[in-house]
Symmetry: C2
Subunit: 632 residues, 2 copies
């Protein structure tokens, strides 16, 4: 094993690719939209999640394992260990980000409770293998053992890249060795029901420099899709065991499973130089973005199986858009950005960050959306404050869920967020995401340091000041696809900037400022006519922020609103208002008629829209993103 040492806190560190990532040591976010959320994560969300997992007994399961209290006292679902590991991953990144002694102590305290549970061979799970429990590896479909080990390894990867080798990292290596021994070429010919081990092993291969982990991940990927898992009611597509990974056309089945699998496959393809696999994953991702993704970047159209629907089956009201699927799609998109250098993957990362990752947590950090619907038809019940909730039955965020994968996923994403901000390619630095802060990159030509000032996404100006730079280097800025008319000012020149990575013609020198202006005038979005559930409807966006109409702004149920796009969008004091006709309460005896579909409105007025990520923070409400347009 090569030395395991911090690697600038890179959550993803591929061996090759068009772009190289920077880590959380290289990029610091100072305030603004995301800085506030990172602070809320550090001060509230991580503790909130840990408190709930103590309360629900998910952490105590490890103590019980040590004391011989299992299976009698075990609480939580079969995958609850994984949420403890995801929390540890969040804590590791947070410790890496700020050096917080409290975070370090939290990590070590959790590690101390978990490590004694590891069995001599490396296996670790509170649910299986003890007297009175199901035997180890007796349920590949639903047991989640390899999924849990995957998250254990990911937590260790974060720890290794922020703090270096320790007992927890060593334990994860032992766990990975156990997986390789148990499931290697000559081992059990199986695949896990829920992918995650693949991406984890690939990253551990990077951390350790040992390709056997990458090869094991590759083996899991190539075994998949041949019907090794049981044919369940929802079909083997549920866990992507219906079609070999290389042959699949598009993402299908359980959306989180699909995204984690694709992210792992991208890692393996890059590290093993498996171009065929990479091309397959790129094709699947492109078709999935084009046909099976909501305007928010959300994925999963069906509550049944938390699954993708068919092409263009994207009903707003049934939008499951699980927060974790969004995070999985960021994992995949960021990998494909690095592999291909194509800027629209960073567009996807941005879209999901602002409309899924930012939407899940409540403004106070004490509640989360598990599913992120685009049309909340009824107000629903208020989630209880003191007990865990079912997954998706309210217009308000619940403090905790029976299945609570999302809060810890948000926490680890926020803590490691700055790694998404910039990439390098030779002596070129690309800025991918715009947040105030500092970017440092050690290019072959020398060290670059930029200060970034911006009120984005509320303001469209992003100002870069070059604090340090070599003579020859290049700066590229990502122009989002929506930002037609963007301009870049450098020196005395103003350049028009088309969507994509725009390379500045001259190397900015120390002391230079570069100013990017992204036009933020709000715009209507029209859906592809194949998306049958929103024909004749429009959405409103401003910059990366999709907006929504909430009943608390409309004053009545949102089903009664029809929008008049011809009246445009008014922007005032940072608020967006649209002209809405309010239909009378339903009274027609039969709702299908010849002639114009518009009822005579009882009122026309300007109504405020709220950024989608902010909805549901002002009490129970109905809400919709897509608004029927007045028929011509």
């Amino acid at each position: 094993m090569t030395t395991i040492a911090p690697d600038n806190g890179r959550p993803i560190a591929p061996r090759s690719g068009a772009l190289r990532p920077l880590g959380i040591d290289d990029v610091t976010i100072t305030g603004g939209f995301w800085g506030e959320r990172q602070e809320l994560n550090a001060s509230v969300m991580i503790a909130h999640a840990q408190d709930w997992m103590e309360r629900e007994g998910w952490i105590a399961n490890f103590d019980l394992a040590v004391r011989g209290g299992l299976p009698q006292g075990r609480r939580g679902r079969e995958f609850s260990d994984s949420d403890v590991y995801k929390l540890m991953e969040a804590i590791a990144w947070e410790h890496g980000r700020t050096g917080s002694a409290d975070m370090n102590a939290r990590f070590e305290a959790l590690a101390a409770r978990i490590l004694p549970v590891q069995e001599p061979g490396g296996y670790l799970n509170t649910m299986f293998g003890r007297p009175g429990q199901q035997p180890r590896y007796s349920d590949f479909e639903w047991g989640h053992e390899l999924y849990c080990l995957g998250h254990l390894i990911q937590a260790a990867v974060a720890r290794a890249r922020t703090a270096g080798r320790d007992a927890f990292v060593d334990a994860a290596v032992r766990a990975a060795d156990h997986v390789c021994a148990e499931f290697g070429e000559s081992g059990r010919d199986k695949v896990p029901g829920h992918p995650e081990i693949e991406v984890a092993l690939a990253e551990l291969g990077r951390v350790t420099g040992d390709e056997k982990y990458t090869r094991q991940a590759s083996l899991f990927i190539d075994r998949r899709g041949h019907g090794r898992l049981a044919d369940i009611e929802w079909g083997r597509s549920y866990y992507q065991d219906d079609v070999p990974v290389r042959d699949a056309e598009v993402s299908r089945g359980h959306a989180v499973r699909a995204m984690y699998l694709a992210a792992g496959a991208a890692d393996v393809a890059v590290d093993l130089d498996d171009r065929e696999l990479l091309d397959a994953i790129i094709g699947q991702a492109r078709r999935t973005f084009a046909r099976r993704t909501y305007v928010t970047g959300g994925m999963g159209s069906r509550h049944t199986g938390e699954a993708f629907g068919e092409d263009f089956e994207l009903p707003p009201d049934r939008s499951y858009s699980e927060t974790c699927a969004g995070i999985g799609a960021i994992m995949l998109s960021q990998r494909l950005l690095l592999a291909t250098g194509e800027a629209d993957y960073a567009d996807m990362v941005e879209r999901i960050l602002y409309n899924i990752v930012a939407t899940s947590p409540a403004e106070d950090g004490h509640g989360f959306f598990y599913a992120n619907t685009l049309y909340r038809r009824t107000v629903g019940d208020v989630p209880p404050a003191d007990i865990a909730s079912p997954r998706a039955d309210s217009s308000l965020r619940a403090p905790w869920y029976h299945v609570s994968c999302c809060p810890t996923n948000v926490a680890r994403t926020l803590a490691s967020l700055s790694s998404l901000v910039a990439t390098t390619a030779g002596d070129t630095l690309q800025v991918e995401q715009y947040m105030p802060g500092r970017i440092v990159a050690e290019l072959p030509a020398g060290r670059v340091e930029l200060h970034v000032e911006t009120g984005y996404p509320h303001e469209g100006t992003i100002r870069f000041t070059v604090v340090n730079a070599p003579d020859r280097w290049r700066l590229a800025l990502r122009i989002p696809a929506w930002a037609a008319g963007a301009t870049i000012d450098h020196g005395s020149r103003t350049f028009p900037a088309e969507p994509g990575h725009v390379l500045l013609p001259a190397s900015p020198a120390v002391g230079d400022t570069v100013e990017l202006t992204l036009p933020l005038q709000p715009r209507f979005l029209h859906p592809d006519p194949r998306i049958d559930t929103v024909t004749g409807q429009v959405a409103v966006a401003r910059g990366p922020l999709v907006h929504a109409l909430e009943s608390v702004d409309l004053g009545c149920d949102v089903s009664r609103a029809v929008i008049d796009p011809a009246a445009g969008i008014e922007e005032r004091d940072g608020d967006i208002r649209v002209s809405v006709r309010i239909l009378p309460e339903a009274n027609a005896p039969w709702p299908y008629r010849p002639g114009s579909p518009d009822s005579e409105p009882v009122e026309k007025r300007l109504v405020r829209l709220t950024p989608y990520h902010a909805w549901g923070n002002r009490g129970p409400a109905t809400m919709r993103v897509w608004l029927p347009a007045v028929q011509g």
Copy 2:
């Protein structure tokens, strides 16, 4: 008990109401759209259903019960007895309709296998109460015991009204007496999970003239809605035990349960002169038709729980529109027509007949749709010919289902169909449904006999010839709400006829002809803008027939079609064609854009639409009723 004797074969015989029904002895259908289907039912469907129930062992369960072979040998679901009874009801009506000796023999042969299973107290069920089975009445939520007894009683009601009293009718009376004793005022304070016993007891009260059965039905209805059934995952609304029947605003939960319950409540309200209850049912029905019903008359927007959705939640692709829910809605609508005399209930009957009842069976009578979707997105698998299918996973009709309530429901509806054709009110005869044949009514003033000639719904002319009539009588014709511009010719005069029951000013005399002309030019239908899943889309109807676009006519998947309503609808050789733009295969990387939503079409052409009831008879296909319209 008063004499039980045939009553002109009336399936519904309320004690009072604005209109009186005619029976299958009074009205004969001779050919045409429905005559062909009645013949197919008699010659194919009834035998098909009986053969499958023999094959699946559902009939043999009764033999096993006699031989002591239960529970070991029992096959089928807990409610399989009911399908045998629904088949017997169909056979009874069919025997009554034609006097067929074969049908009479079939009825008697089935009765002979069933009657020995009845226990001395009147109870009868193959699933409960024997050693090794669950105890009698131990599962009100899912046991379906009262549901099965209800269908037993309904079969006996049909037998009594077509053949008079026999051993099977007596057995049903004993079963009803058992129910009254077991669940009366001083009996078990319970309600059944699936309504049906209510409507059955109410009809038995009419057959026997004994109000105790009506009062027992009333008791079940008033007990309902107070949480006597368990609170299941889908909530007590699933079986309408959430809100008292008198207090409910709208239909909700399982659609078949909701309709059967409402039909039974309407019977009880009419027979016990319970105006409050009748008003409640009328209000619920009107709100359900206005907000929770598909353009086909289908009900049930959710596969989960086979249930109604919220108001205006009517997604075409998720349309469950169970065939049995449609038949339940006919049962309810016909009762409300009789109770109130309001013609739009007959419009609803017509809509459901042509678009649900006619849609379920295959053209050859050997397959059935269980669910009636409005947008079939994928071709799906071909249902196996030799084994029962799941409920809703193909674009083709399956020969039989694991739950196969629909085929026998279609069979009993077709066999008794002529009872829906006309009503009387004093000396007025209303014709409600237009089919070629003969209508005989004994009015207080004397006997009326009309011959009806029509090619409806393909042709809009309906010609009535008065064969017999008293001096003073009145003829009223129902003008459907869609038939603006209808006219009536009588003698030398032509009257414009507005929607509703139109009373002819003069009494037609013997030898007179009256000619009704319903304008059948095809029309676009626009949905209420609150129906969010079809905004900006149109449907096409001609007379009562909703039409659909099938991929076998389009030549590619229907998701690629956009209709141009401005180009109108072309009618030629009985076919309807619309101007369609065919979109290119999807290729945009991101399907949400500023600007016009229409992709540049690859082709524009006229495409034939198929009547919805006829779709899926030409091999696997995708299909949709609502078509996106070109945006202005």
